[in-house]
C-alpha cells in the first residue's frame, strides 16, 4: 500500500500526531453510539495525540476535546488518512481519484 499518500485505514493504524477524517464508527452498539454522541460522527477530523506510557489506551483530539480509548476499540474506527506513515490500509483512497 505504501506509495499512495491517501488511504482508508483504521484509527489504530494511525501513527502518533497524525490527522485523519472519520469514515465510520464500529464496535458494540453502546460504544459506537457513545462515541458518536461525543462528536465522532463520520466526516469529523480526528488526531492521535498521545499513547499511554504502558502502550494502551491512546489519546485522541476530536473537536478540541481530549478523549481516550483503547487500541482494541480504535481498530473499529475507519478513517481516511493522508499521512504517508499510516499502515495497514483497508483500501486505497488515492486510486479512486
Amino acid at each position: 500500500m505504501s506509495g499512495h499518500d491517501a488511504m482508508v485505514t483504521t484509527l489504530s493504524n494511525l501513527p502518533l500526531r497524525s490527522r485523519a477524517k472519520i469514515l465510520a464508527v464500529g464496535g458494540s452498539p453502546a460504544f459506537r453510539r457513545r462515541l458518536m454522541e461525543l462528536g465522532l460522527v463520520p466526516g469529523t477530523p480526528i488526531e492521535v495525540s498521545r499513547i499511554a506510557p504502558l502502550g494502551d489506551p491512546i489519546q485522541l483530539v476530536v473537536r478540541g476535546c481530549r478523549l481516550s480509548i483503547r487500541r482494541k476499540e480504535a481498530a473499529e474506527l475507519t478513517v481516511f488518512s493522508e499521512d504517508p506513515r499510516a499502515t495497514g490500509g483497508l483500501g486505497c483512497g488515492g486510486c479512486a481519484a
Binding site: A30, L35, Q59, G64, S68, E73
Partner: protein, 728 residues
C-alpha cells in the same frame, strides 16, 4: 443488574409531581461532566445543599434552596434547585444513566422540574450543545448558562446569537468567580414566570421519522401524561431507539415498547439508526455553529502539563509521588487526629465512670454509647482527608489521568482505572476507601471494587499482627540476615494485595460478571480546583457517613457491648483493685454471651488451630479488628487496657497450654491466625458502609460470607498443611 426495593418504581408512575414538595418552583441543573455545573449549583444554593440518593440508585442527588435575585422585579424568588449528575447525552444503557431523563421529565418519583438550567462549557461548545439539543427536543423550558466564558477567550461565542439560534435565553457565566450569576438568576426567574418551549430545527430523514412514529405508538401512556404533543412523542421515540437494546440495564421500560423498538430496528437493519439520529443532530450544530464563533483550540497549558504528567518517566514518577501523599496522609497524617479522638472519648468514658454510680446503666453509657460514638468519629479524620484529596484530584483533572495511566494494569484485573485510589486507600482503612468508590460511574465497577477493598491490609490489622508476631516470633530470629518479624509483616502486606487482586479477577468473572465495557475517557483541561467546592463536598460526604453509617456502627457497638457484658457477674471489685478487677473481668467475659459464643464456635475453629479464647477474641474484633488485642487482654487477665506491645500479655499467650500440655500458640497457630485476620471480614463498620453504599443487605451479606469462608479455608489449609509437614 440492580436490586433493592425501589426497583419496582416505573417510569412516570402516578401523576408527575409539579414543583417541589414545598410548592416552590423546581429547577434542574444539567450539563456535561467538567462544565463547572456543581460550582454553579453551589453558587445558586449557597451552603444550603442537602445530599441524598436518586430513587432506586446510589447516585448522589444534591438539592438546595436558591433565592433568585430579580433586578428590581420584586423580591427574590425562592426556588428548589437540584443537581443532575453530569452526562454527555440523555440516551441511557443503565439505571445510572437513566437518571438524567428521569430527573428532567420528573419520572420515577423525581419532582418534575419547571425549568431545566443547562450548563455548557464555552470551550467545548459543539459537544455540549448536543445534550442541549436533546433536552430541547423533549419540549421542556430551558435556560442556558454559557460557563467558563473566560477560558474561551477570543473564541468565546456570543450568548445572544447562540440563544437566538436555539430559541432560548443564554447567559454567559464564570461560576468560579460568580460573574454573570446574578444575571442568570433574574433570567431563570423570568423564564419560570413565562415558560417558553422551543424546538431546534434538526432535520431528520423522512424514513427515520416514520420509524420514530411507529415507536411512538408503543410509548406508555404515563410517559406522555401532561404534554402529549407530537414533538415530545418523536423525541421520546428517538430516546427509546438510542437507548433500548436487548442487553441494556434500564429500569421501567414496558415490554411492549421493547418489542416495538426491536421490531423497528430489525426492519431497518440495513440502515444505521444511531448514526442517522446522532448525525442529524450534529449536522444541525455543524451547519449553524461555525457562523457564531471560531472553534476553540485545545488549551496549550494542558498540553504542556500533560507532556510531563503523562510522560513514561516523569509521568509515573509524579503518579507515585501523588499516590504516596494520598497513602501517607491517610496512614500517618490522620493519626494524631485519630489519637486525639480516641483519647478524648477514653477520657470522657473515665470521667463518666467516676461521676456516675457504678452499674449497668453507667456501663451502657460508657462502653456502649460513648464508645460507639468514638467508634464512629474515629473514622472522620481519614474520611475528611481522603475526600479532600479526592476532590483536589478530581477537580484539577488529574483523577482522569490516573485512570488513563493505570488502565492497562487495572483492566487486566477486571477493575476500572479509577479503582486505583480507593484500593490504595484500603491499606489505611476500608471505610473511606469504600466511600471513595463513588468516583466510578458504573455500578458493577463500584461493587467489584467494594468487594475487594476489605481484603487490603488496613491499619486496624497491624496491632493484631504486632501482638502475634511479637509473642510468637522472637526478635532475634532471622532468615538469613533478615529479621523474621519484619519479614512476616511485609509478607502479610504482599499476601493481602495478591489475594485482593486475585479476588477481583475471580469475582469479575463470576458473581460480578458484566458486559465488557470499552473505555471512553475524557481527559478534561487542567483547572485549579476551587477550594470552597472541594471543602463543601468533603463536608457533605462526612455528614452522610455520620448520619447513615454512623447510626448503624453505634447500634452495633451497643449490641456487641451487651453480648460481651451479659449475663453479669455480681460483686464487681472496685476499679482501683487492679488484679482483682482483671480477674473479675476475665471471669465475667468467659461466662458472657460472647464467651459462650466463643466456646460454641470452638469445634468450628479448632481445625484452624484456634481455641475458644481466640473465638471470643474474633467475636470482640467485630467492633474493629484491633479490639482483638484488648479482648485477649481481658481473657488472659491482663486487663482491657493491654495494647499490642504489652509484655505481660505476650508472656501469657506464650505460656498458655492445652489440656495435653502442648502450647496453644505455636508459630503455626500464629500464622493461621494472621491469615484468618487478613481474610475475614471482621469489621462491622465495613459492613455498615457497604450496606449504605449498595442500599441493601445483599452485598454486605455476600461480602461477609465470601470473606469468612475464604478465611476459614485458607487458615485451615495453612494449619493442617503445616501440621502435615511437621510444623505444628
Amino acid at each position: 443488574m440492580t436490586e433493592g426495593g425501589a426497583k419496582a418504581a416505573c417510569h412516570g408512575d402516578g401523576p408527575a409531581r409539579k414543583g417541589g414538595r414545598s410548592g416552590r418552583p423546581t429547577v434542574a441543573v444539567v450539563g456535561n461532566p467538567n462544565t463547572g455545573k456543581t460550582t454553579l449549583f453551589n453558587r445558586l444554593t449557597g451552603q444550603r445543599a442537602r445530599v441524598g440518593n436518586y430513587p432506586g440508585v446510589t447516585v448522589d442527588r444534591r438539592s438546595g434552596r436558591a433565592r433568585l435575585r430579580r433586578h428590581g422585579h420584586g423580591p427574590p424568588l425562592e426556588v428548589e434547585v437540584f443537581d443532575v449528575p453530569g452526562c454527555y447525552s440523555l440516551s441511557a444503557r443503565s439505571a445510572e444513566e437513566e437518571i438524567a431523563i428521569d430527573a428532567i421529565l420528573g419520572w420515577k418519583g423525581n419532582p418534575r422540574p419547571d425549568l431545566v438550567l443547562v450548563v455548557v462549557d464555552a470551550t467545548q461548545l459543539v459537544r455540549n450543545l448536543y445534550l442541549v439539543v436533546q433536552i430541547l427536543e423533549l419540549g421542556v423550558p430551558v435556560v442556558l448558562a454559557l460557563n467558563m466564558i473566560d477560558e474561551a477567550g477570543e473564541a468565546a461565542p456570543d450568548p445572544r446569537a447562540l440563544g437566538t439560534l436555539l430559541g432560548v435565553t443564554c447567559v454567559a457565566t464564570n461560576a468560579r468567580l460568580g460573574a454573570g450569576v446574578e444575571e442568570l438568576e433574574s433570567v431563570v426567574a423570568a423564564a419560570l414566570a413565562r415558560p417558553v418551549v422551543t424546538r431546534p430545527r434538526v432535520e431528520y430523514a423522512a424514513e427515520l421519522l416514520a420509524d420514530a412514529g411507529r415507536v411512538a405508538d408503543a410509548l406508555p401512556e404515563q410517559w406522555l401524561a401532561g404534554v402529549a404533543d407530537d414533538a415530545r412523542r418523536t423525541a421520546l421515540a428517538l430516546w427509546a431507539l438510542t437507548s433500548v437494546h436487548d442487553d441494556d440495564e434500564l429500569v421501567g421500560i414496558p415490554a411492549s415498547l421493547r418489542e416495538r423498538v426491536a421490531e423497528v430496528r430489525k426492519g431497518a437493519r440495513r440502515r444505521d439508526l444511531d448514526a442517522e439520529i446522532i448525525g442529524a443532530r450534529y449536522g444541525f450544530l455543524d451547519a449553524h455553529l461555525p457562523e457564531l464563533f471560531a472553534p476553540h483550540r485545545t488549551t496549550i497549558v494542558t498540553e504542556r502539563i500533560d507532556r510531563v504528567l503523562l510522560h513514561p518517566v516523569t509521568g509515573f514518577a509524579t503518579f507515585l509521588a501523588v499516590m504516596f501523599v494520598v497513602f501517607q496522609s491517610l496512614f500517618a497524617w490522620a493519626d494524631p487526629a485519630i489519637g486525639m479522638i480516641e483519647k478524648l472519648f477514653g477520657a470522657a468514658g473515665a470521667w463518666l465512670t467516676a461521676v456516675l454510680p457504678p452499674g449497668v446503666i453507667t456501663d451502657l453509657v460508657v462502653q456502649g454509647i460513648v464508645g460507639g460514638v468514638g467508634n464512629v468519629l474515629v473514622f472522620l479524620p481519614q474520611i475528611l482527608l481522603l475526600f479532600f484529596l479526592l476532590g483536589l484530584l478530581e477537580d484539577s483533572g488529574y483523577l482522569a489521568r490516573v485512570a488513563y495511566l493505570m488502565d492497562r494494569v487495572m483492566k487486566s484485573l477486571g477493575l476500572h482505572g479509577r479503582a486505583f485510589v480507593p484500593m490504595l486507600s484500603g491499606f489505611a482503612c476500608a471505610i473511606p476507601a469504600i466511600m471513595a468508590t463513588r468516583t466510578m460511574e458504573r455500578r458493577r465497577d463500584r461493587l467489584l471494587t467494594m468487594m475487594v477493598i476489605p481484603l487490603m491490609t488496613c491499619s486496624a490489622r497491624l496491632p493484631v499482627y504486632t501482638l502475634i508476631i511479637g509473642a510468637l516470633f522472637p526478635p532475634s530470629r532471622k532468615l538469613g540476615v533478615v529479621p523474621v518479624q519484619g519479614l512476616l509483616m511485609v509478607a502479610m502486606y504482599a499476601f493481602s494485595t495478591v489475594v485482593a487482586l486475585v479476588a477481583a479477577g475471580v469475582l469479575g468473572r463470576t458473581v460480578l460478571r458484566g458486559p465488557n465495557v470499552p473505555l471512553i475517557l475524557e481527559l478534561p483541561p487542567y483547572r485549579l480546583p476551587l477550594l470552597s467546592s472541594v471543602v463543601q463536598m468533603m463536608w457533605q460526604r462526612s455528614k452522610l457517613f455520620l448520619s447513615e453509617a454512623g447510626t448503624m456502627i453505634l447500634t452495633c457497638t451497643v449490641l456487641l457491648w451487651a453480648l460481651l457484658s451479659f449475663p453479669k457477674l455480681p460483686d464487681a471489685p472496685v476499679v482501683t483493685d487492679v488484679p482483682a478487677r482483671a480477674a473479675w473481668e476475665q471471669a465475667s467475659l468467659e461466662q458472657s454471651f460472647g464467651g459462650r459464643i466463643g466456646k460454641t464456635l470452638e469445634p468450628v475453629i479448632a481445625p484452624l488451630g484456634f481455641d475458644w479464647k481466640i473465638g471470643v477474641g474474633i467475636v470482640g474484633a467485630f467492633a474493629a479488628r484491633e479490639v482483638f488485642v484488648s479482648t485477649m487482654g481481658v481473657i488472659y487477665g491482663v486487663g482491657h487496657e493491654a495494647d499490642e506491645g504489652d509484655l505481660a500479655l505476650r508472656d501469657r499467650l506464650r505460656a498458655d497450654v492445652r489440656p495435653d500440655g502442648s502450647p496453644v500458640y505455636s508459630p503455626l497457630v500464629g500464622f493461621s491466625l494472621m491469615v484468618f485476620f487478613a481474610l475475614a471480614c471482621q469489621c462491622m463498620s465495613t459492613l455498615a458502609i457497604v450496606r449504605r453504599e449498595t442500599d441493601g443487605w445483599r452485598w454486605p451479606g455476600f461480602l461477609f460470607a465470601y470473606m469468612t469462608t475464604l478465611a476459614w479455608v485458607v487458615s485451615f489449609t495453612v494449619y493442617q498443611g503445616g501440621r502435615l509437614i511437621g510444623l505444628g
